[in-house]
């Protein structure tokens, strides 16, 4: 699971709504995956990033050189975009858990795949 995905994932447990974000990340195995740099794509994703959640996740994973927020003229700042590219797309959480901040429900991550299956009781009606 990439950190871009984590930054957009939200718990869909019944009754939780917007309080289901962000999912609290714990990781026991992380891999760095080289991904081809596409500055256009990274620049387009910047407005979608929730920085508090990203920084918290980056901190949990002990990542360094993580920008603290969008800088002026970021669309053309290659250094900034490359750093964001690395954080959002090249850090892959293989094993760990995601926790719903409202309900406490744990979603396990195995082989890089979060298990988001809910029980009947947890499903929104």
């Amino acid at each position: 699971m990439k950190l871009l995905t984590h930054n957009l994932l939200s718990s869909h447990v019944r009754g939780v709504g917007p309080r289901g974000f962000p999912l609290r990340l714990q990781a026991t195995e992380v891999r760095i995956n080289p991904v081809e740099f596409n500055p256009d794509f990274v620049a387009r994703m910047i407005p979608k990033v929730e920085w508090a959640a990203l920084l918290e996740a980056a901190d949990t994973l002990h990542l360094v050189e993580v920008p603290k927020g969008p800088i002026e003229g970021y669309e053309h700042d290659e250094k900034f975009l490359r750093q964001m590219h690395h954080v959002l797309l090249e850090v892959d959480v293989l094993e760990g858990t995601l926790q719903c901040p409202e309900s406490g429900r744990l979603f396990p991550i195995s082989r890089g795949i979060p298990n988001m299956l809910l029980s009947d009781e947890e499903t929104e009606t």
Partner: protein, 266 residues
Amino acid sequence: MAFRGKRPEHGGPPELFYDKNEARKYVRNSRMIDVQTKMAGRALELLYLPEGQPCYLLDIGCGSGLSGDYLSDEGHYWVGIDISPAMLDAALDRDTEGDLLLGDMGQGIPFKPGSFDGCVSISAIQWLCNANKKSDIPAKRLYCFFSSLYSVLVRGARAVLQLYPENSEQLELITTQATKAGFTGGVVVDFPNSAKAKKFYLCLFSGPSTFLPKPLNESNDDDEEVQESEFTRERTSWGHALRCSGNGCYSNAEQPCTAGIMLEAV
């Protein structure tokens, strides 16, 4: 998938049908790969994404990542959701580039509002129409799916969902729930006169009304023209549109009948 016998959805839930064996057969079947890849290409075409722009897409029922690979090849980034662990394992083995989630689309899409620039789905959503547990109510699961899909799409984004509807009632059930969830759009039927090649694409739009794409058609006759799909504010009755072959048929408004079905948001 060409069904020569029972429809897979009648035998049980997708995660049981798509077990290790089925997953293994799936990724080795070159005809299957060819069909799924072609449909992924058509779905992406129908998404009408801005040219040259890498987008962040959702692949519903991504399975072993066949459609996802096509999206990657076109320069897009994607997240796939599937309910079958065996198919997702096959996707891992195939080293797909998108992020994968194990999830049930009928339980909703677990993302923040406005996360995705578009959504594709190949041969998946018909699975929502069959109740596999006593507690399953297809209409509710369909509504949960469509309403959450509407939310996670960027305003004005599209979803193109290729499906194999069992009958017109099922198609109506699906389109009704999509409309309830706020989508406009319609069903594009490619090659409506060919039993083998006929394909249904549910094209949904999460913004104000737009055009319905032109369906593909093989001309048997030199004089035969492909009908233009015109967006009108007229309601087209489901029964009429579904029975229509698309040739020389006229609706009440005396417009040439389309081989598609228009949806209007309620």
